[in-house]
Amino acid sequence: MAARSKEKREIIIFLIFVIAVLVIPLFLTGSYLINVFVFVGINTLLAVALNLLLGYAGQISLGHAAFFGLGAYISGILTTRFGLDPWFALVIAALANGMLAFIIGFPILKLKGHYLAMATLGFGIIMFIIFNETVSITGGPSGLPGIPNIQIGPLIFDSDLRNYYLIWIITLAVMLLSINLSQSRIGRALRAIHDSEVAARVMGVNARILKVQIFTVSALISALAGSLYAHTMTFIAPASFGFNFSVELLTMVIIGGLGSIYGSFLGAAILTVLPEFLRVLQDFDIIVYGLMLIVMTMYMPGGLISGLQQIIEYAGRKMRQKGGADAAG
C-alpha cells in the first residue's frame, strides 16, 4: 500500500512539474527569461545525462562536454556542408555518439576512481583539440555559423518560444524515462554497481556491459542536447565544449544532488541563472564559483535536493511536535 501511494505521489509531482514547464512561458511573453529557460532546458538534459552515469552508476566523467560538442558539430556539419535535414542530422548525431561511446566505453570503464576521471578528462581534451584544429570541417576556433533551425513540416523552430517547447518536451520525456529507469531492475543494478562493483558482480550483475550501456545512453542524450543547442543557436564554437564546461556540468549534478533527476534540473537552473546574479561581482565571480564547489561538496554532499528534503522533513517534524504539544497542552 505504501509503495502504491509513494508511486502516486511521484506521478503527481512529475505532472505538476510538466504543467509548470508548459505553462510558464504564457506568463513571460516577450521576456528574455524565455531565452534563459531554453538554455536551462538544454543544461537539464545534459545534467540528467551525466547524472545517469555519475549518480546512478557512480562513474566519474570529466569529459562530457565532448559528447555535447560532438553532437553539436555532427549536426552542424551535416546540415551546413551536406544540406541534410536538421531533424535527420539530429538522429544521426545521437546515434553516432552512442556508437562511439559504446566502442570506447569498454576500455575506459575498466578504470576506476581517479584514473577514470583522468581518462575522461583526456578524452574531452582530445575532442576539443580536434574541434579546434580541423578548420576545414568544423570552422576551427572561429566557429561554425549558419546552422539551420529545426523544421517539422511547415513549422520552423526559429523563435525562443518554439525552441523552448521543442527542447522542454524532449527534456521532460528524457526525465520521465530516467526516473522510470531508476525504479526498474536496471536502476537497482546500477545502484548496486555504484555501491560495490565486486558485490554486484557476485550477485550476478553483468557490471561491465551495464556500465557501457549506461555510458552509451548518457552519450546519446548529451549528443541530442548538442544538436538541439546547435540548431537553436545557429552558431557553435569549440570554446563552448571544453574542460570548463565539463566542470560546469559536473557542478550542476553535484549541486542538484547525485542520483536525483529533479536535482539535475535544479543544478542546471541554478548554474544557468547564477551568472546573472554574479554579474555584479565582475571578476570575483570565478572566486565565488570555486568556493561554491568546495563548500557544497564538503557540507552538502547530497546536493540541494537532499537539503530541500531535509528542510521539508524538519518542518514536518516541527509541525507534528507542535501539534503534539498543543494536543498535550
Partner: protein
C-alpha cells in the same frame, strides 16, 4: 647534416620540456602516494611559484634570490592551508568528492590570483642571462641547464628523503597501507600534511625555474598541471626515476611529434599517451604491477 641538427634540437627541446613535466609530476606522485588523492590543484602551485616571484621582485623590489625563497615559502603555506581546510576534514571521502574539491580549489586559487594580480602575463628575469648555448649544433638557453640541474637535485633529494630518513620511510609506509602504518605508531595526519608541504614546494620551484622561459600569468597552471599528471601516469607514480622517465618520454614525444608530424596536435599527444597507458598498462611503464585489492 641539417636534418641531424634538427633531430638533436628536437631531442634537447623534448628533454628540457620533459624535465619540467617530471618536476610537476613529482608533486602529483608524492601526494597520491601519501593520500591516494589526485590533487588537481597541483598546477596552481606551479603558477603560484612564478606569480609570487614576480610579486616580490616587481612590487616589493626585492632581489632575485630572496624573492624566489619567499615565493616558495608562501606557496608552501598555501599548500598547507589547502590541506588543512579542504583535505583534512574529508578523511575518507570518495574519489569523486576529492576530485571536485581539488578542482574547486584550483578554480579558487586561480580566481584569487587573477583578481589580485590581474590577467596579464609577466616576464621573469633569467637566472644567468639570455645568451644561447650550443651543444652539438643545437641550442639551449642557460635557464634550461638550471632546469636540468634542479630536476636532478630534486630527484636526489627525494631519493635520500624517502629511502634514508625516518619521515620519508614513514611516508612510504603510509602509501602502502595507512592503517598498518598508524598501527605501528606513524601519525598519518602529519604525513599527509608533509606530503602537501613537499608537493607545493616542489611545484612552486618548478614554476619559478620555468617562468623566465615561459613567462607567467594566472592561468599557466592548468595545462602544465595536466601534462605533469600525464607524465606520472606514463611513468608510474613512484616519485622517483619512474616519474622522471615518464616526463622525459612525454617531452620527447611532444617535440618529435610536433617536428615530424604536426604541431597543431602537439597537446593531443600528451592525452593520447595518457589514454593509451591507462588502457594498456595503468600502473605506468616503470612501475611494478600491483594486484588490485578488492
Amino acid at each position: 647534416m641539417d636534418s641531424s641538427r634538427q633531430l638533436i634540437q628536437y631531442i634537447l627541446s623534448g628533454l628540457y620540456n620533459g624535465a619540467i613535466y617530471a618536476l610537476i609530476g613529482f608533486g602529483f606522485a608524492i601526494i597520491h602516494n601519501a593520500t591516494g588523492i589526485i590533487n588537481f590543484a597541483q598546477g596552481e602551485f606551479v603558477m603560484l611559484g612564478g606569480m609570487l616571484t614576480i610579486f616580490f621582485l616587481a612590487v616589493l623590489n626585492l632581489p632575485l634570490l630572496p624573492s624566489i625563497i619567499l615565493a616558495i615559502l608562501f606557496s608552501t603555506v598555501a599548500g598547507v592551508a589547502f590541506e588543512r581546510l579542504a583535505i583534512r576534514p574529508l578523511k575518507n571521502a570518495k574519489p569523486l568528492i576529492m576530485v571536485i574539491i581539488t578542482i574547486g580549489a584550483s578554480i579558487l586559487i586561480r580566481g584569487i590570483v587573477m583578481v589580485v594580480g590581474g590577467k596579464n602575463t609577466h616576464a621573469v628575469p633569467a637566472f644567468s642571462g639570455n645568451d644561447p648555448l650550443y651543444i652539438a649544433g643545437a641550442t639551449i638557453m642557460p635557464q634550461h641547464l638550471w632546469i636540468f640541474a634542479i630536476t636532478i637535485l630534486i630527484i636526489i633529494a627525494n631519493r635520500i628523503f624517502f629511502n634514508f630518513s625516518i619521515t620519508g620511510k614513514a611516508m612510504r609506509a603510509c602509501a602502502y597501507n595507512s592503517q598498518a602504518a598508524s598501527l605501528v605508531g606513524i601519525d598519518v595526519k602529519t604525513m599527509v600534511l608533509i606530503s602537501f608541504v613537499i608537493s607545493s614546494a616542489i611545484g612552486s620551484m618548478a614554476g619559478i625555474i620555468i617562468a623566465p622561459l615561459t613567462m607567467t600569468s594566472y592561468d599557466v597552471g592548468i595545462m602544465l598541471g595536466l601534462k605533469g599528471f600525464c607524465a606520472v601516469i606514463i611513468g608510474g607514480m613512484s616519485s622517483g626515476l619512474g616519474t622522471v622517465m615518464g616526463g622525459l618520454i612525454l617531452g620527447l614525444l611532444e617535440s618529435l611529434g610536433a617536428g615530424y608530424i604536426s604541431a597543431s596536435y602537439k597537446d593531443a599527444i600528451a592525452f593520447i599517451m595518457l589514454l593509451l597507458i591507462l588502457f594498456i598498462r595503468p600502473e605506468g611503464l616503470f612501475s611494478k604491477k600491483e594486484t588490485e585489492r578488492v
